[in-house]
Symmetry: C2
Subunit: 335 residues, 2 copies
């Protein structure tokens, strides 16, 4: 029974719908009718010590920020504005009050930055390590919600920012490498303190140009596969088009990791992947400049199901196409 | 640093408020503006294996029901109707799929019973045991939200149902007692499968007669102390007026427990405690009959802060008054 089976089992006994529910399980957020002008977006994410974070290298304040950020990113992914946060915090019997102070500062700092407010939750004893569950409520004008299921063949696929840095940062933390350069500290920071694209997501939704969008939490290969599956289409992306920092290649080399694994399978980038018609490109570029966040064309939506990666083949000097649907941990090509 | 300190620390950095927020931290739910007619109520509760439940005696289906029930009870406590549920489920690596099926049936069954729907959440690996966090969203007509802070000196204090059964049920489960009688099974059921008072809560809120209300999750002594503190008043309750099942006394005797400890400090009753003017009594009684849930007058709101219990004193043949504010685990009188 994998994660998908568990979700299907939980969902299987659900009745068909409910007045006021615009969209339930299956996108970044549930969408609920608010009034004639606006809809609510609601999402919930859990971070568990040893599974999602390691307190040996994750400072309390940055963990507080990240707990808010990963939830706010789901609101950004549907084009909304975060408003209210609920926090359930599980702490072991022996906890350090100064840790709670730092964590609270992180929660409050991220809330201020993204314009939301902590308004409720729960505190409990945890038998083993810290557990953090956040529920976020955001809103969005009716008609501006961007779902995952609207991609059309011929659409351009875009991603914001740079890929693979968070995954490389985690690998640095797990290694014995001393990260004393500015570039390596920036890569570690991408893991410790991700920046959800709230402003860009809102501007994209408002533009009316985006057919489908989601945030990158599980890695581009898996997340783009979800978007394609829900849209009933496929995608072809180019390995040479994937945006990242030049420092990623040096770091990957130091870590003896494949940089494309980090970019495609790494996860936790909290960037946006979205699709538009080809003629929207100039407006998207202008909007990206206004938001102060780079966006890059990485490929095209196609009719044929699945997500393919185009790689240069040094042996044949031609290109080769590899299926990377749903991360393809077993099938993923080594460099 | 106790639970209250943690909450204060988390809340201390919060800005004062936010448009759309009617009430934040400090009541059973946060209250958020929906439209001109209705408000949202939102609450979040976590249940953790070994802290809140024990799978040796808690069947999966009843645990699923209870995870919904304890959240829905917070909506009932403010007079609302539950609508949507979000579930974060943490499972250890080795879990039994049939357990997930049973748990899902419990979630779905309780949702059907209380008229709400599971619409989102998260599934994660847990390093140690099952972890369940539920967020519930309900709604209530504007002007019918019942807060904790409206109690007035002279008001009657009421509780619904019977007290102490859930605590006695837990003690039976923890003991070696074989519970083979109908009455003991009913007491154990009160622990495994509590029944939040959604219909009664809604009818009380609609009546306009209730000055303050909350649900009983931490035990009457603590919960009534919260209600009094937030209302700036005190309470005097009579030990002989506390409603319970005659079976509680037999069970308490078998368990070598003080039945008043179970009724006042036990917790998890998920009954409602509420206060009204004295002249509202006949209407409250009629409404209770219509809802099919008993309600009992247990005391009076007074100006003097603190919660006092009136006990018969067999030695002096007079009554004695004991302060039981906030459970008073250290100060609580033995029988």
């Amino acid at each position: 029974m994998n994660e998908r089976d568990i979700i299907e089992c939980l969902n299987s006994q659900n009745v068909a719908g409910k007045p006021g529910l615009l969209y339930g399980i299956g996108d970044d957020c549930a969408v609920i009718e608010k009034d004639t002008d606006r809809s609510w977006l609601v999402s919930m994410d859990t971070l568990i010590e040893t599974v999602h974070f390691d307190l040996r290298w994750h400072p309390a304040e940055k963990l507080g920020r990240k707990a808010v950020a990963v939830n706010v990113s789901d609101i950004a992914a549907m084009g909304g504005t975060p408003l209210f946060i609920f926090l359930s915090l599980g702490l072991p019997k022996a906890f350090d009050p100064s840790w709670v102070h730092g964590f609270s500062e992180g929660i409050a700092g991220a809330c201020r930055e993204y314009g939301c407010l902590l308004v409720g939750g729960d505190t409990v004893h945890s038998p083993e390590g810290v557990m953090i569950t956040v529920t976020v409520i955001g809103d969005v004008p009716v008609g501006e919600v961007i779902y995952r299921n609207g991609a059309l063949p011929g659409d351009i696929i875009w991603v914001s920012g740079e890929l693979g840095l968070a995954a490389a940062g985690l690998e640095i933390c797990k290694s014995d490498i001393v990260y004393d350069t500015a570039s390596m500290r920036a890569i570690v920071e991408a893991h410790l303190n991700p920046q959800p694209r709230v402003r860009l997501g809102r501007m994209l939704a408002k533009s009316g140009l985006v057919h489908a969008m989601m945030d990158l939490s599980d890695g581009l290969a898996t997340d783009l596969s979800h978007l394609c599956k829900q849209s009933g289409v496929g995608a072809v992306i180019g390995s040479e088009k994937l945006p990242t920092s030049p420092d990623l290649f040096d770091t990957a080399s130091l870590l003896r990791q494949n940089p494309f694994d980090l970019m495609l399978k790494g996860g936790e980038d909290y960037e946006l992947v979205f699709v538009t018609a080809t003629d929207a490109a100039p407006k998207i570029k202008a909007l990206s400049e206004k938001a102060g966040v780079s966006v890059t064309k990485i490929g095209t939506i196609v009719e044929k199901q699945g997500v393919s990666l185009i790689l240069p083949d040094s042996a044949s000097k031609k290109q080769k196409e590899v299926n990377i649907s749903f991360a393809g941990f077993d099938h993923f090509p080594s460099k």
